[in-house]
């Protein structure tokens, strides 16, 4: 009896452990091949499914002045990459403009009451006309500034990141972004009668980037935005796993 046979009879378990070891290298490449073919065949369908999901969640809009723009084709921003696709562009809900709109309308009628201000009667008619023109310029710039603040207050969701662009009072620009992969948590809140009635609220995006919070105030359809971000995160995780 040889030495190995002798040991086998004493400890038969050794044979069970030692037998599969040479087979491992031959099995592993086969498994890899199977995974690779699965990725190649599934990748286009995953993206197609994702686009369909986005369409189902967001629907579509055509009005360029809408506060909820799905797949805006003409909208571009300077920091946008060549291959970056904007899925959604959101502005504050249009109902948030109602206060300044009515104030502007009221301001238009103020010059009608200038005649009742006795101290203005001291001035000649040319001075009063100049004052009226000046008042209308002030009225115009008030409404225009409010409109611009709304129009350029954008929250963009692209295939790569979430972007917040904000112009305050014509003089300040604010830009914040977070990669989809850096998003940790998304929450939203709808407050008040108007918010509940017109379905707008605040979306809070917690990120792992330098600026750990991105807040979007008074945005329309916050539930849809949250669902879209969840889908994007899932897709990002799925792609990460495949890589």
């Amino acid at each position: 009896m040889t030495r190995s046979k002798d040991l086998d009879t004493i400890a038969p378990d050794d044979i069970v452990i030692s037998k599969p070891i040479p087979e491992i290298p031959s099995v592993q490449p086969k498994k890899n091949k199977i995974i690779k073919t699965k990725i190649e065949t599934k990748e286009p369908t995953v993206i197609e499914d994702f686009n369909q999901k986005i369409h189902d969640i967001l629907g579509h809009t055509k009005n360029p002045f809408s506060s909820f723009l799905v797949h805006p084709k003409v909208l571009k921003f300077t920091e946008q990459d060549d291959h970056e696709i904007i899925y959604l562009a959101v502005r504050p809900h249009w109902i948030t403009n109602i206060s300044w709109f009515f104030i502007s309308i009221a301001m238009l009628f103020v010059p009608l009451f200038f005649g009742y201000l006795s101290f203005l009667n001291v001035f000649p008619i040319q001075y009063r006309l100049a004052l009226v023109l000046f008042w209308y310029l002030i009225t115009f710039i008030y409404g225009f500034e409010k409109f611009l603040s709304w129009y350029f207050d954008l929250f963009l969701i692209t295939n790569e990141r979430v972007v917040d662009i904000d112009f305050n009072n014509l003089l300040n620009k604010h830009f914040a972004e977070a990669d989809i992969s850096a998003i940790q948590d998304v929450s939203f809140s709808i407050k008040g009668i108007l918010g509940t009635f017109f379905n707008f609220g605040t979306v809070l995006v917690q990120t792992a980037s330098e600026k750990n919070q991105i807040i979007f105030n008074n945005v329309a359809n916050p539930q849809k935005i949250m669902r879209l971000l969840k889908e994007l995160r899932d897709l990002d995780e799925h792609q990460g796993e495949q890589l």
Binding site: P64, F65, P72, V74, L75, K76, F77, T78, F123, P124, Q126, Y127, L129, A130, L133, F134, L137, F140, I141, F144, E145, L148, Y151, F152, L154, I165, F167, L170, L171, K173
Partner: protein, 76 residues
């Protein structure tokens, strides 16, 4: 003093000073209108959209009216 207030000099100084203030204020407003034009152009470049040209036209109209305001103030 009373004679100063009652004669035509009062009107001359009062409206003269008012006019200077009006013109200075209009010049400041013109500077503001220029900033608005620059800022709207800059915003339109940052976020380009199909209808941005309308906003630029409005900002230039505002600038034109502020120039008109200065001309009116100078002509007072």
């Amino acid at each position: 003093m009373n004679s100063f207030l009652t004669n035509n000099n009062f009107e001359f100084y009062f409206f003269g000073i008012t006019k200077v203030f009006f013109v200075l204020f209009s010049l400041l407003y013109l500077a503001f209108a220029l900033i608005v034009v620059k800022q709207v152009t800059s915003m339109s470049k940052s976020v380009s959209d199909k209808f941005n040209y309308i906003l630029i036209i409005f900002s230039f109209l505002h600038l034109a009216f502020s120039v008109l305001l200065i001309l009116i103030m100078l002509g007072l």
